[in-house]
């Protein structure tokens, strides 16, 4: 027992634990919308794009949050712009722009070295070097996201479930989508140091999928996903210390274990709830119904 509590004597660990728990809760909360709207790939892509900004900021010794934030926003706008022209699909646009940004980040860090967090820490997360400012930033982003979800709950739910009808029922769908993208970018940016670029997408998806397997209610799914994310962050960070592996890895593996356990105890039937979770089936072609003679 004393061995389990030992890391709590270290300030760096307590800070990392607070950040990881908040990061898990934040990703679990926003992940519900991202998963249900079929935006998981955007989350994955944005985290990679932000890595380019992270590297560029580190090379020129610019504030990491501002530099990577601007870079991520520019990437999101570029994806939107390319997809809008319909020359290629949005998934292909994400693939091109975000991986190019990621590759640029790798090239910059390899060529010029790094003055901020280490390369491994940026990719897979780390509990070392979590600063007071990191705690404040993630606390601020979590409170902001919770406020957005609380105050725009109905509009966000309507937009996520049925954007076409929401649009004609007085909800500004484009504004809600933009708000969600903004909150998603902030969430990825603020959790990157602990979870890492390559693993952020998993923390967005796993808690939401597990929560969906446990409930049929949207409000309960939000609460469960947030709680599961927080628990995975807390447990994953402890495991990271004791096993001496990157924190992002242990947080994601904890989530995967929870997924496996829920699957085991509830049976495969619950997994069917998550099939096509983000899809709106195509409308079948119609032909006149008459009596054939």
């Amino acid at each position: 027992m004393s061995e389990l509590l030992a890391p709590f004597h270290y300030e760096f660990f307590v800070k990392g634990l607070v950040v990881a728990t908040l990061a898990g809760a934040l990703c679990g909360l926003i992940g519900v919308y991202i998963t249900l709207k079929g935006m998981s790939y955007i989350g994955h892509g944005l985290s990679h794009a932000i890595f380019g900004g992270f590297a560029a900021s580190a090379v020129v010794s610019f504030n990491y949050f501002i530099g990577a934030g601007i870079w991520g926003l520019a990437s999101a706008l570029a994806i939107n712009q390319v997809a809008r022209k319909r020359a290629i699909g949005s998934d292909a646009a994400i693939g091109v722009i975000t991986t190019a940004s990621f590759a640029l980040g790798v090239a910059l860090l390899t060529k010029f070295g790094n003055r901020g967090p280490t390369f491994d820490a940026a990719l897979f997360g780390s509990i070392i070097g979590v600063k007071d400012s990191d705690v404040l930033v993630i606390l601020g982003v979590t409170l902001l996201t919770a406020a957005v979800v609380f105050l725009r709950y109905r509009a966000l739910l309507f937009t996520t479930f049925d954007p076409e009808v929401a649009d004609v029922s007085g909800v500004s769908v484009s504004r809600m989508d933009a708000l969600l993208m903004f909150v998603l970018s902030l969430s990825i940016l603020s959790t990157l140091t602990v979870i890492g670029v390559t693993l952020v997408a998993a923390t967005l998806v796993i808690p939401a999928v597990v929560a969906r397997m446990l409930t049929n209610s949207f409000s309960r799914m939000l609460a469960l996903s947030t709680a599961i994310g927080a628990v995975c962050g807390f447990v994953g960070m402890n495991l990271s210390y004791h096993l001496d592996v990157p924190s992002g890895t242990t947080i994601v593996l904890t989530g995967a274990t929870v997924f496996g356990m829920v699957l085991l105890f509830t049976g495969g039937g619950r997994l069917r709830r998550t099939v096509g979770l983000d899809q709106h089936p195509d409308v079948p072609a119609t032909t006149p119904v008459t009596s054939a003679r």
Binding site: R154, V165, V168, L277, T287, P288, T290
Partner: protein, 262 residues
């Protein structure tokens, strides 16, 4: 007849709209009046759903004019096939979605709960409020979306293929329900490709094939000539109990040997 915008809920004057270079709707002129019950019939790609979107205001015409008084309140019921039935919402949550203004708190107020209970009771699904949307039958799912639409107290209800893929019993249920709502003063406009099961029972029809082919009561509109212009296929129209009955006149292509003789 040229529609008079003054007494119409929505009127379209020579409306043309296309998603690309090719227009989907051409010179469509019509008016939707209070307490009217109209069906839009036409083949796939004839512009039925696009016409609904123009009426809803989600697309703007490239030419022509849409007149919709500010006071006109419109609700929309989508096709069941377009809904993600795995989405985690209960019937109560789904119906309450349309209440997007007036309250910032996520949970329903006592007044809102009572309103949801009332509308579900009116539609005969009061006991299903806590069920997940997938656990409903096709008719109940349709009633749930009508409940969501009615919660906004609309003057006009637009429905996209409300009887697509449902059985005869559910179709009859739906016709009775819509007829009752219409009798209470609600204007209803729906699209359908079901000529015998749905269109023939409606008071008013619009035959559409990118432009309006004919409008009027089913007995006036469902004729062999209008149907051939609308669907591009030969059909025969019989009469049964005062209602038109449409019968396919499908003739297979002659066999190769017969073609050689011909």
């Amino acid at each position: 007849m040229i529609p008079q915008p003054g007494d119409a809920l929505i009127s379209l004057d020579r409306v043309t709209f296309g998603y690309g270079a090719e227009p989907v709707l051409c010179d469509v002129t019509l008016a939707v009046r209070p307490a009217e019950f109209t069906g839009i019939v036409g083949p796939s790609g004839s512009g039925k759903t696009t016409l609904l979107r123009v009426l809803l205001g989600t697309v703007s015409p490239t030419r022509g004019r849409v007149t919709r008084p500010v006071r006109t309140s419109v609700s929309y019921v989508p096709q069941l096939e377009t809904v993600n039935w795995n989405f985690p919402v209960t019937v109560d949550e789904c119906v309450l979605m349309s209440r997007t203004t007036g309250r910032l708190l996520p949970w329903a107020s006592r007044v809102e709960k009572a309103e949801v209970a009332n509308v579900l009771e009116r539609l005969g699904i009061a006991e299903l409020g806590r069920r997940h949307i997938r656990e409903l039958s096709g008719g109940q799912q349709q009633r749930m979306f009508i409940a969501r639409a009615l919660l906004r107290r609309p003057q006009l209800l637009l429905m996209d293929e409300p009887t697509s893929g449902v059985d005869v019993g559910t179709r009859h249920e739906m016709l009775h329900l819509l007829d009752d709502l219409n009798q209470e003063g609600l204007a209803v406009v729906l699209t359908t490709h079901d000529l015998n099961g749905m269109a023939a029972h409606l008071p008013n029809l619009i035959c559409l094939r990118n432009h309006v082919i004919a409008t009027g009561a089913p007995v006036e509109v469902i004729t062999a000539s209008v149907l051939e212009q609308t669907f591009g296929a030969r059909m025969e129209v019989l009469e049964h109990c005062g209602l038109p009955v449409v019968v396919d006149r499908y003739a297979p292509d002659p066999s190769p040997s017969a073609r050689a003789v011909l």
